[in-house]
Symmetry: none
Subunit: 418 residues, 2 copies
């Protein structure tokens, strides 16, 4: 019987507080769905043996694959290994190879392995050990009475590559022929209800097609996402169906769609800059460096990111960017004239081809009747085109205004370069 259903159990009392959500399950859900394995239930359990054992027992009674994340650390709280060993009645032994690897990992940083880390070398009988190149806790993969139990570390950067490998190898072999194929469109500059209005007639029709296409619309900070999925054993048919739906949606939503392959705005803009052999520099006030930080989150961005200036103080807009003090006095720091002067200034002082200027009021203080909190002016200058400048009115808390401002600025650079 191929594996068809799954259950995810996130372990850790910290995930039961009000300040954290389990996001690992989203990543795992996606990867499982790609293998045609559907999630039935997901749970978060604290560091409590009895609760974890009960939840695990119930999951084993219901699902084919049980993925547990977290609780593999070296401390007393970390009881996932112990509970799995007990519930599956597979006694633990210490795997000296793992202990050696953990010791070597500490040694590379000039440290001795603390004694507590030996716990991480314990392995239930019959478990396959999953190597963790990014941390001390190895994962475990267990075939048990036709079920599959996977234990993964909690930190996403350790969990993700480990689970990727499991999906490509052990789980791929055990899954059925049907796969789920997905596509997404990221839209910015249009609200959720406007996207819905334009897209709904299209996806209502495709929902009835063969194979049927499922659509989820999701409003996120600074963008709306449309997620499409098709479940099919025939890969070519699935992909051509997705292509057709995507084509119709692109037609309906036009220039507002900035990405059709899951890449973020900063990657899209980076690709465009690289393709055109251009460099970029930004002069930021209210966004405080977030635009530059987003651009430089992309590997290889040093090829096109020149420099940035964060000029919070008006005197620094003059000293670092050459914005004339009397221009600021005449128009105010949050004005189209100053935004353009900032973009020009950073372009000239760095020699970058593309210049961006952002000035505004992120809040919660600093708003006035004429320029309330959320007022942000964005200027963008690219070679051989007139300077762009526009005043936006964003809604939300300080960090949301910051993010939306950088999103609008990057989107404008994208549209000017396209």
């Amino acid at each position: 019987m191929p594996l068809a259903s799954a259950e995810i159990i996130a372990v850790g009392s910290e995930l039961l507080g009000s300040s954290r959500v389990d996001t690992n399950s989203l990543y795992i859900t996606d990867k499982l769905a790609a293998l045609g394995i559907e999630l039935r239930v997901k749970s978060v359990v604290g560091d409590d043996r009895g609760d974890l054992a009960a939840v695990l027992r119930q999951a084993l009674a219901r699902a084919d694959v049980i993925v547990l994340t977290g609780g593999l650390g070296p401390t007393d709280d970390d009881l996932t290994r112990d509970v799995v060993s007990e519930v599956l009645a597979r006694p633990m032994t210490v795997d000296e190879a793992i202990a050696g690897k953990i010791r070597a990992r500490f040694a590379r940083r000039g440290l001795d392995m603390p004694e507590v880390n030996r716990r991480q070398a314990q392995v239930p009988a019959g478990a396959l050990v999953l190597d963790n190149p990014n941390g001390t806790a190895p994962g475990l993969f267990i075939d048990h009475d036709g079920k599959t139990v996977v234990l993964l570390p909690g930190p996403p950067r350790e969990m993700q590559p480990m689970f990727d490998l499991v999906c490509r190898t052990q789980l791929a072999v055990r899954a059925g022929a049907e796969r789920v194929y997905r596509a997404s469109l990221f839209i910015t500059g249009l609200g959720e209800s406007h996207v819905e209005q334009k897209a709904q007639p299209i996806y209502a029709r495709w929902r009835e097609a063969m194979p049927p296409v499922s659509t989820t619309i999701l409003a996120a900070m600074g963008q709306v996402e449309l997620h499409l999925s098709v479940r099919d054993a025939d890969e070519r048919r699935a992909l051509s169906t997705l292509d057709a739906v995507r084509g119709e949606l692109l037609q309906a939503l036009g220039e507002h769609v900035y990405s059709t392959d899951g890449r973020g705005m900063e990657e899209i803009v980076g690709e465009l800059l690289k393709a055109r052999g251009l460099t970029i520099a930004a002069a930021e006030s209210c966004t405080g460096g977030l635009l530059m930080s987003r651009l430089t989150d992309v590997a290889g961005s040093s090829a096109y990111v020149r420099a940035g200036v964060v000029a919070y103080d008006n005197a620094d807009k003059t000293a670092l960017l050459g914005v004339p003090a009397d221009l600021i006095a005449a128009h105010g720091a949050v004005s189209e004239a100053v935004a353009i002067a900032m973009a020009e200034g950073v372009r000239q002082r760095t020699g970058a081809d593309v210049g961006v200027g952002i000035t505004g009021i992120a809040g919660p203080g600093g708003g006035t009747k004429d320029k309330p909190v959320g007022t942000v002016v964005i200027a963008a200058i690219v070679p051989r085109q007139p300077a762009y400048v526009r005043t936006f009115q964003f809604i939300g808390a300080r960090t949301q205004v910051k993010f939306q401002s950088t999103q609008a600025a990057l989107n404008r650079v994208r549209r000017l370069l396209e």
Copy 2:
């Protein structure tokens, strides 16, 4: 017996996808904690009768309060009411008063009530109906064999006011005199295992005290968090217990503790700058503006944030910061000499009191044998103290190296100012 433990079940297949998370549970958790009711497990279940019944039965066996959200709509998918009725063996009757309210709600919008909405007027025997001023689905409150079962609608704007009222009334009466009190310590510059080694003897002892103190240790990016909680009917005793534990942990962990009240590093540094009447400026290379962006995430930061320069390109380190080109040629861009020159340069050009310089290799490319990916040099200059500079070796992906670098730099500014 007062209600002490809770379980939250979010119902809806859409919450099992990879693009949505249940956030209602965070709101509910907070409100329950204030009443001394602790969350043991939370789950997300799809629109499946069998799964929901099984999860509910298990929750009833374990917790005093079970809060279910979602699945109260008018369609066949909405099965929370039915399943609760069946599991608690409380047959349903149609409540004509509810049907009337729903009909009136439609009438106000000039519409007839669709027949399907009559489902929403069904009430399990003995249930108290919770009015929903913001939607059609009423909530339900059921006392059952010493347990409490609460059914709430899924949309947050309907769920929140309804649950607030339940907490102030029905649950307040049924909760005990005990409340949960919390404290936290945020630590940076020490790994999880090392924090554990220093802290474990302390919290092992307090776990046996009266009242006992629970501790959770949590490794997050760039920091380790210790969360303490005490459950007690005596507020003064609880708070003085937390004070005592916190004092001992501070003693053991010393300067590595940067926050004891939940505030983030950027807020702590901001408070110190404000208290000392100092301004700050940063010259960033590999962190690409993230340091400035973090500092400016704090409301009111314009009082002490002067300016920042992101100098990715070596030519810009010279042009924007005055770092001598021959210094870069002699030592390399990633060197202690250049980091200090960057900090000095940004301080001089902006007139800020505190200057930070960060230069390094965020990866994945750009590493060499002598200076591998993750090599980051941090310099910090504060008034009347010798310049600080140190070379770090961070582990992780690009954005993690960036974050850890800003964390280490901010932490150093904190320690220089304290």
